[in-house]
């Protein structure tokens, strides 16, 4: 996917997010319902068994459900169904007498002959108004139902006050919270799925999400043992570490007697590396996210390429509903290709195709009853592999249509110019053209911010030019968004006389001219040349240590530090010969799939010596990142 490698094509696809959201169904058909009794086996595949965390969360949920004795219906804040799907399936709820599920919306609740109505909601004021409306509209003639509210991930005083103002607090039997700080997404991945964490920390200076982060880390330590070493870079990292150390002091004397699983915790502020999330991710999973956006481990895709070809039928019905795919390492093929550069995916898929068809061919060789039996026993596995292959071939085709388009190519070329420091101090013609074409505003902002970051701020003239063009084309109300981006440091005026980005780039080897996309030997393959700064810092911490890059660390925002947590005697880990260290890398303010891929690459490196588990406040990409900083402009109804 390098400039010189990319194919020139005349297709003109706009590289933007495709929105395939269907309308809300009246009854909540969610992930929970469709998943049945699927186990979360993939969580225990990694070095650290994250299923322990999931089990703890499930236990908590069961306890809450049992507290509301009798039959129940759950009214869902739709946003929560995704994260909840990762914790529990419908079967669990059913076992605890959940008979019906609805989506939260104003008006009267649907009739359901249950004793309890439980609202599962985020602590948002507008949702409180809906709950109040639901409770107030309850039919007085019917047998009264008990109302409960479960706040996820935390209760909020303001919300309770709003319920009180609306006069319904008294009608609620239970108001509780379900603390879901870190949700296990995959065998090596945890996310808080707090969409506004970056905005709160860097724009609104509200550090509540950091407090929750620290709490989440304490939970993790209670389950997996005290982490002896803490490193960090950035103001928020410092803050989280301080809170953790204080919480530990306050809990002094009740140390968990668990042998530590993690050797090191690395806390990284997102604003230490603002460049990486702005760049287009070029791994398979990264591109799926960039183009179709992955939500809670699922992606919705345009259905055309997934049409079932039935034998003997000439006409095939084209499905109209988006195709929904679950994406995690439980799927063998996906685990194999997700972190590859997209240019290496085609080869991997065709190799897999050969293996599968060879396996099916085996049937001709099966002569004896024993051999046939053996073959038949493998059939389900083989059929699953074939379906998986078919799906990913379709996904890869969809992505290829876009990556081979002129629009994608041009955009990538400009990104790579910025990352290598070409003409970052001038107004860029491509950006100007994109504005003139009225390309999506987020795309424009992403590029302008990237240029600003790669130039350590823009010259007054350049900044003014971009701002004027944006406001004239997209509307003056975006003054607010531009101000937000400036406050968050993504867009700035160059004040320092020297642009230090080239120094950082060279010292940390952020640009590798000959990145190998097929058989990578460096993390830079995830962005076809650009090595994510955040992951480079992680890599250098493990070897040879940050002392060697003190100078560069000082150029990046915020303090860097090291702390040690005392372990009770007897809990010191005795590492086996050749056993890898385990580092938990926590991205405060979000992490991209490409960064995760880069860390997995480091984990798998022979004699790398360190394996990584990744945690974050939110899984992000450039679009969702910029979006979280935009001013909400829609007029309230």
């Amino acid at each position: 996917m390098k400039r010189r490698l990319a194919q020139y094509s005349t297709r003109t696809h706009d590289f933007e997010k495709h929105d395939h959201r269907s309308r809300d169904p009246p009854v909540c058909h969610m992930i929970l319902v469709s998943e049945g009794r699927k186990m979360a086996a993939h969580l225990s595949y990694g070095r650290v068994n994250l299923n322990i965390l999931r089990e703890a969360a499930r236990k908590e949920l069961r306890e809450f459900l049992d507290k509301c004795a009798g039959s129940k219906a759950i009214v869902w804040d739709e946003y929560l169904t995704g994260p909840f799907g990762l914790i529990a399936q419908y079967s669990l709820l059913k076992e605890h007498e959940v008979e019906k599920m609805f989506t939260l919306k104003p008006g009267r609740l649907p009739a359901a002959d249950v004793k309890n109505i439980i609202f599962f909601v985020r602590p948002k004021l507008e949702l409180m108004d809906i709950i109040a409306d639901n409770v107030a509209s309850e039919d007085k003639l019917r047998t009264p139902r008990d109302f409960h509210v479960l706040f996820v991930p935390r209760r909020s005083l303001l919300c309770e006050q709003r319920l009180k103002e609306k006069g319904v607090l008294g009608s609620l039997i239970n108001v509780d919270e379900y603390i879901l700080d870190l949700i296990p997404y995959d065998g090596d991945l945890l996310s808080m799925e707090s969409e506004s964490a970056f905005r709160e920390c860097y724009l609104e200076n509200d550090q509540t999400s950091l407090y929750h982060t620290a709490k989440g880390l304490m939970t993790l330590q209670a389950l997996y043992g005290t982490i002896p070493q803490i490193f960090g870079k950035g103001e928020c990292a410092r803050h989280v570490a301080n809170m953790m150390l204080r919480m530990k002091r306050e809990f002094a004397g009740c140390q968990t007697q668990i042998l530590p699983v993690f050797d090191t915790l690395l806390l990284l502020d997102r604003n230490v590396d603002l460049l990486t999330p702005l760049a287009t991710q070029l791994t398979y999973e990264g591109l799926i996210d960039e183009i179709y956006s992955i939500n809670n481990g699922y992606v919705k895709l345009p259905p055309e390429k997934f049409a079932q070809k039935k034998q003997g039928e000439g006409e095939k019905d084209l499905p109209t509903e988006p195709k929904k795919l679950q994406l995690n390492s439980a799927e063998e093929l996906y685990a194999e290709i997700r972190d590859k550069n997209f240019n290496a995916v085609g080869a991997a898929l065709s190799k897999k195709a050969k293996i599968i068809s060879a396996a099916f061919e085996e049937r001709h060789n099966a002569k004896t009853v024993g051999e046939i039996k053996q073959f038949v026993s493998q059939l389900p596995h083989m059929q699953a592999a074939r379906t998986s292959l078919a799906n990913h071939t379709s996904v890869a085709e969809l992505i290829k249509d876009i990556t081979t388009s002129d629009a994608f190519f041009d955009n990538l070329t400009v990104e790579q110019e910025f990352m290598t420091g070409v003409d970052t101090d001038k107004a860029n013609t491509y950006i100007e053209d994109c504005i003139a074409r009225k390309d999506p505003l987020i795309k424009i902002l992403r590029l302008v911010c990237m240029q600003s970051v790669c130039n350590n701020g823009l010259k007054q003239k350049v900044l003014d030019f971009y701002k004027r063009e944006i406001l004239q084309t997209y509307g003056f109300q975006h003054i607010l968004t531009l101000n937000n981006l400036e406050k968050a440091g993504l867009l700035k005026l160059q004040t320092a006389t020297r642009n230090n980005y080239p120094t950082i780039r060279k010292t940390l080897k952020l640009w590798m001219e000959d990145a190998n996309e097929q058989n990578p030997n460096d993390i830079s393959y995830v962005y076809s040349g650009y090595a994510p700064l955040s992951v480079r810092l992680t890599q250098l911490l493990a070897r040879p240590g940050w002392r060697s890059i003190e100078e560069v660390l000082k150029m990046l925002p915020g303090p860097h530090f090291e702390e040690r947590q005392q372990l009770p005697s007897g809990l010191h880990k005795k590492r086996q010969q050749g056993e890898n260290r385990i580092t938990l890398v926590f991205f405060l303010g979000g992490v991209t799939y490409a960064e995760i891929a880069a860390l997995r690459f480091l984990s798998q490196m022979e004699d790398g010596g360190t394996e990584y588990v990744i945690a974050t406040t939110k899984l992000i990409n450039g679009t969702s990142f910029i979006k979280s900083l935009m001013e909400r402009l829609e007029v309230p109804p």
Partner: protein
């Protein structure tokens, strides 16, 4: 709010609080005793009419949480509960536990000093809920001036307070606070944002006019001024065009799909190029006037005019747009945007080959010119360019692509037969 009080009390009383032990020996911390009293006198929050007797009836168990049978668990994992039970309360966390236990009264904090101590402790605990609870209490019990003065030196509490006011939609208090803190730019932007909530365009216009004087940064100030001017113009244009809708030809032929109100400048310019092209610069709706009033860049202006006139298939206007007379009266085609983009736009609007051809021939880069000419079947350009390049081979290849015995086929044949040309290959 009226008669739900008993229920509320029931709720609060029956709800869960975390138990903890007091360290009675600790007397250097002056608010401790008061706090203990406060804990024992649990009130919802700051309801003024709660008298002392009411608050005493609340049940309180000193048992550790872990052995509390009917108290809902608030910890994440059961494994975590044990430490909490053994949790020895230190001074700083005391007040915080007070609030976290869901049972609190701040009434005992009467002096400003105590109140600020309470706030500082809350901030120290980092829990947004706790901080907010204290701030709500302070908001009700302190004057605005004193509160904002005290918050000036307490950055974290201040952020939470701002967030709280935003969440609650207390725009006026927020503006006042930011003003008293000297954060005038933030205040100005916040006030500007209000215009989004105004539906009526005349009222919105007046509001924007009032915003002009606000202390924005110099750049933003000029943008806000422009925003006002734009809406003012749009209102005038909209009123006139509504009248014209059934009378003027262009409106009848191309009915307006939407009103022009609240559209960005470039959209407005496009609209004006579509419906008001050729009007003298003096009128508000003329493209020239919009261009000069809002200092639209030459590139944007050309692109917008081109887009609008090409949409209407007014090829003559397109021609005039790019025609510049030089000093000697010769006309020459000039464009601030590359001619390849002009071709692109014309092609998207289904311009006839004769029109396209003219602009393809103006593309500077020869390779690009040939590729565009081939793409849009401008045979003459392809042939002439190869002739100029003296590229016989390419000409032969191209001959294979055109129709047999067509004029272009014959033209190529004539050239190939021409012995005067010195081919390079």
């Amino acid at each position: 709010m009226m008669r739900s009080k008993p229920d509320e009390d029931d709720y609060w009383n029956s709800s869960k609080f975390r138990a903890f032990t007091f360290d009675d020996d600790d007397d250097e911390f002056s608010t401790l005793k008061e706090s203990k009293r406060a804990v024992n006198s649990i009130v919802v929050d700051d309801d003024d009419d709660d008298d002392e007797d009411d608050v005493e009836k609340v049940s309180w168990s000193g048992e550790p949480v872990g052995t509390f049978p009917d108290v809902p668990s608030r910890s994440f994992a059961p494994e975590l509960r044990k430490p909490k039970a053994e949790y020895k309360v230190s001074k700083p966390v005391l007040l915080v536990n007070l609030v976290k236990g869901r049972a609190y009264s701040f009434e005992t904090f009467r002096s400003l000093k105590d109140k600020m101590l309470l706030l500082d402790e809350a901030v120290h605990a980092n829990d947004g809920n706790v901080i907010t609870a204290v701030l709500i209490f302070l908001k009700k019990s302190l004057s605005k001036e004193i509160l904002s003065r005290e918050l000036t030196s307490r950055e974290i509490a201040l952020r939470h307070y701002i967030h709280y006011l935003k969440e609650m939609g207390e725009q006026k208090s927020l503006v006042e606070l930011l003003k008293s803190l000297g954060r005038t730019e933030d205040m100005a932007l916040l006030q500007y944002k209000e215009h989004l909530n105004i539906k009526d365009e005349v009222r919105k216009k007046e509001y924007l006019k009032a915003c002009i004087g606000l202390p924005f940064s110099p750049e933003d100030a000029s943008h806000v001024q422009d925003h006002y001017t734009l809406l003012e113009r749009q209102i005038i244009i909209e009123a006139n065009d509504k009248q014209a809708e059934n009378k003027v030809e262009v409106f009848k032929k191309h009915p307006r799909k939407a009103s022009i109100l609240n559209m960005p400048i470039i959209t407005t310019l496009y609209y004006s190029c579509f419906y008001h092209y050729g009007e003298p610069e003096g009128t508000f709706s003329s493209p020239a006037n919009i261009r000069s009033t809002f200092k639209i860049s030459e590139k944007q202006y050309f692109l917008t005019v081109l887009g609008a006139r090409a949409k209407l298939k007014e090829w003559f206007d397109v021609d005039r747009l790019f025609t510049a007379k030089n000093w000697f009266g010769y006309t020459k085609k000039k464009s601030p945007i590359g001619f390849h983009r002009v071709v692109d736009i014309l092609q998207k609007n289904n311009a006839p080959v004769q029109v396209l051809q003219e602009y393809v021939s103006l593309v500077e880069d020869t390779e690009q010119k040939i590729s565009l000419a081939q793409k849009y079947k401008c045979h003459d350009i392809v042939i002439d360019t190869y002739k100029d390049l003296k590229d016989r081979q390419q000409l032969i290849i191209y001959q294979g692509k055109v129709e047999r015995n067509s004029p272009e086929d014959r033209k190529i044949q004539d050239l190939l037969n021409n012995t005067q040309i010195r081919w390079k290959n």
